[in-house]
């Protein structure tokens, strides 16, 4: 890796690390006062446990050897193949990927908010990392799904669709909260989280070029435009449908747009990010209402935003992929002279990820439920998880 590329990957890694606290504030602000610290803790826990797991074994299983199609091995156990720092490129890439591994389970925390035993979460994260995340990651990046031609620039399938559907499986096992949902306890905290998320997402998407080049620049531009367009679309829907545009709508739209552009960021250009953002903004704005109709208790709309947004973005690659612009060797989307092949591959890759993630997550949660239990006790849920599970409360005099 050249030194400019190294700088780009390092700063992008720092940005992605910053996203997990951002996500914690985004979720934590939406939660009740008495549960906010539990929400923050579920997120911060991911950046405590996952980096260590990733360095010890995760990276090895998820990547090395690069030729394997289904799963890596133990060759890079505790990164033992690294005998010198070299130009830093390999190290930077491992760190960058470690940040992704950390934030992905954190995404799920928003769904299970307000009722999960912290001990169960502490076990769920490593289990899910190795059983669900690592294989899907391998298949999509370098493995059999990727080799078939499906595209996932920065983790639409491997991260958002994956975490989004896992969130659904998790809440189906976990069950509904005992108390009614409440409005966000601190909207300013939600907006702080949103600001950090968008900021960090430039590293997430544009850093995924793993080089300082035109693809990184367009991925950056796409991250800018799709977040904006989706936020705009969401508040326009609110304005027309509910009478007034809201901050939470703007924030949710921004995140939906960023999710949707994630898989596409290095493959689309021109007006495409605005189109993808706008479609995702509208789709997710309606999708978050499904939970009421279908009756699952996805507390902070991980399914409606990450699963739906990720899927929308991933499938729209089949229409908007533009290899000419990037002078790249991937297939063209339907709007750019391609056949439906790419769209089919996108659907296939997502289908596989959905099935694997849903089934395995369901099994992990069932196993935890049957052994240590996954629900906090009723008293804790009624009087606040922060005190019951962490011996602390969020605000004092």
């Amino acid at each position: 890796m050249d030194s400019a590329g190294l700088v780009w990957v390092l700063i992008s890694s720092a940005l992605v690390l910053f996203m997990t606290p951002g996500l914690a504030f985004f979720y934590g602000g939406m939660d009740r006062r008495r549960n906010v610290l539990n929400m923050l803790m579920m997120n911060f826990y991911c950046i405590l446990a996952v980096p260590v797991l990733w360095m010890v074994l995760g990276y090895s299983l998820a990547q090395v050897p690069f030729e394997s199609d289904f799963i890596g091995g133990f060759d890079a156990f505790i990164l033992q193949d690294l005998v010198t720092a070299g130009d830093g490129g390999t190290l930077a890439t491992i760190a960058f990927l470690g940040m992704f591994a950390a934030i992905t389970p954190a995404l799920i925390s928003g769904a299970v908010a307000g009722r999960m035993k912290f001990g169960a979460w502490a076990l769920f994260v490593p289990l899910w990392l190795f059983i669900v995340y690592v294989p899907i990651f391998k298949w999509v990046y370098g493995g059999w799904l990727g080799q078939r031609g499906s595209l996932d620039f920065a983790g639409g399938t491997a991260i958002h669709v994956n975490a989004g559907i896992a969130a659904l499986a998790a809440v189906l096992v976990l069950g509904r909260r005992r108390v009614d949902p409440a409005p966000p306890h601190s909207m300013p905290l939600v907006m702080i989280g949103t600001g950090i998320l968008w900021f960090g997402w430039f590293g997430f998407n544009a850093g995924s070029a793993l080089a300082a080049n035109g693809q990184a620049a367009q991925a950056f531009m796409n991250t800018f435009l799709a977040g904006a367009a989706a936020g705009l679309a969401w508040i326009v829907v609110e304005w027309l449908r509910d009478g007034r545009p809201s901050n939470l709508g703007a924030a949710s739209g921004i995140v939906a747009g960023l999710v949707a552009i994630t898989p596409a960021a290095g493959y689309v250009s021109g007006i495409a990010p605005i189109a993808i953002g706008a479609v995702a903004g509208v789709a997710c704005c309606y999708a978050v209402r499904l939970k009421t109709k279908l009756g699952y208790d996805d507390a902070l709309d991980v399914v409606g935003v990450h699963f739906v947004g990720g899927l929308v973005g991933s499938l729209l690659i089949g229409f908007f992929a533009n290899p000419t612009f990037f002078e790249g060797s991937f297939s063209a989307g339907i709007f750019y002279g391609g056949s439906t092949k790419l769209l089919v591959e996108q659907a296939l890759a997502n289908g596989v990820a959905i099935v694997w993630s849903f089934v395995l997550t369901f099994i992990i949660m069932k196993a935890l439920a049957a052994t240590i239990g996954v629900r906090a006790d009723e008293q804790a849920e009624l009087t606040g998880l922060d005190l019951a599970l962490h011996s602390e409360t969020a605000y004092h005099d």
Partner: protein, 112 residues
Amino acid sequence: MKLITAIIKPFKLDEVKDALKAANVTGITVTEVRGFGRQGGHVETYRGAEYKVDFIPKVRLEMVVEEAVVDRVVEVIVKSAGTGKIGDGKVWISDVSRVVRIRTGEEGRDAI
């Protein structure tokens, strides 16, 4: 006119409010308070140091009602606020000699 003051558990507020509404209580004023009583407090831990929190969050309701309905209202509160566990709270009643509605200047029964 009587003033009924009730201290209840915060998560019971909605239930109590609905029960009072159903019992035709038309006005309630609610305050977030902290209570000290038999229930005892709890301990929070920060960096290994324990902080004894003696006061725990409660909600205080007050409503001015006509004498005739006092018993019924108290009963409704006791029923809807009770969990049977320590710390459920208290209700007490005191006299009110005059009530005025600010908007209209109406007094007494018309004011509540």
